[in-house]
């Protein structure tokens, strides 16, 4: 699985974005229990046309392979169908992932 999967849909003037990321989201207690290393996404950003429309500072209590859904107004963001949305994140071990997807 790619590290990030994105679905972005423009409907009735709003763009709804679904993002699925691959990460165990293990905090220190969970890592100890499962004997794995601490690894969770700490910050995630979504950009359209180089403007950040949404971002999240996250901790290890999101589910494993965290799912995010958010909405923004296409007109206010100056976005049309076919524009690209770009999502990137960084995790607790400074690993990064990046993916861009056309808005349908």
């Amino acid at each position: 699985m790619a590290k990030i999967k994105i679905k972005a849909l423009l409907k009735k003037g709003n763009v709804s974005v679904k993002v699925l990321s691959k990460s165990p989201m293990a905090g220190k207690e969970e890592a100890e229990l499962k004997k794995i290393k601490v690894e969770f996404i700490t910050h995630m950003t979504a950009k359209v046309n180089d403007v950040i429309v949404w971002e999240a500072s996250t901790g290890p209590f999101l589910s494993k392979n965290p799912y995010m859904q958010f909405v923004f107004n296409a007109e206010k963001a100056g976005v049309k169908k076919g524009d690209k949305i770009e999502v990137d994140w960084i995790d607790s071990n400074s690993n990064t992932a990046k993916k861009s997807q056309k808005i349908k």
Binding site: V51, W54, F61
Partner: protein
């Protein structure tokens, strides 16, 4: 005591003036480390937003009454309020803060995500409106004890 109170007020004021100029690209983990260490929602909210008295009843939360799998409890939060910051907390895990979302001017307050819950507990969402007011909502979510949590 008075001095302490005064100092904390100063800190809140500083944050309030800082945020607008810095709407994008705020790493709340770096800026507010205490938030992520707090082990209950009350303290985490205080660490993030300061002493606030949020308005209840404007935010809708969609969560299962009885979650089957504590490892991924779907939570949906939405409202018609224009917001800049949305923070999600719960009292089921060792530390309370789950995520802090930031929306730009085009953002619509309609967020869905999945969280881990070790046991049944309250989930609290606190949002900072573009009108400068704070809004919150608390809802209890029961987790099936048979399910395996995170």
């Amino acid at each position: 005591m008075l001095r302490r109170k005064f100092l904390s007020l100063g800190a809140v004021a500083a944050v309030a003036t800082l945020l607008p100029s810095n709407v994008n690209a705020t790493d709340f983990r770096a800026e507010k480390p205490a938030t992520w260490e707090a082990n209950n929602s009350h303290e985490a909210i205080k660490a993030l937003f300061g002493d606030i008295s949020p308005i209840e009843g404007k935010i809708k939360m969609k969560a299962p009454k009885m979650a089957e799998d504590g490892g991924a409890v779907p939570i949906g939060i939405k409202s018609k309020i224009q917001v800049s910051v949305v923070a999600l907390f719960q009292d089921a895990n060792p530390r309370s803060a789950v995520a802090v979302f930031e929306l730009n001017e085009s953002g619509v307050f309609d967020i869905k995500t999945k969280i881990k819950m070790k046991k049944s507990a309250n989930i609290t969402v606190v949002a900072k409106g573009r009108d400068g007011k704070f809004y919150s909502h608390t809802q209890r979510v029961d987790v099936n004890p048979g399910g395996c949590g995170g």
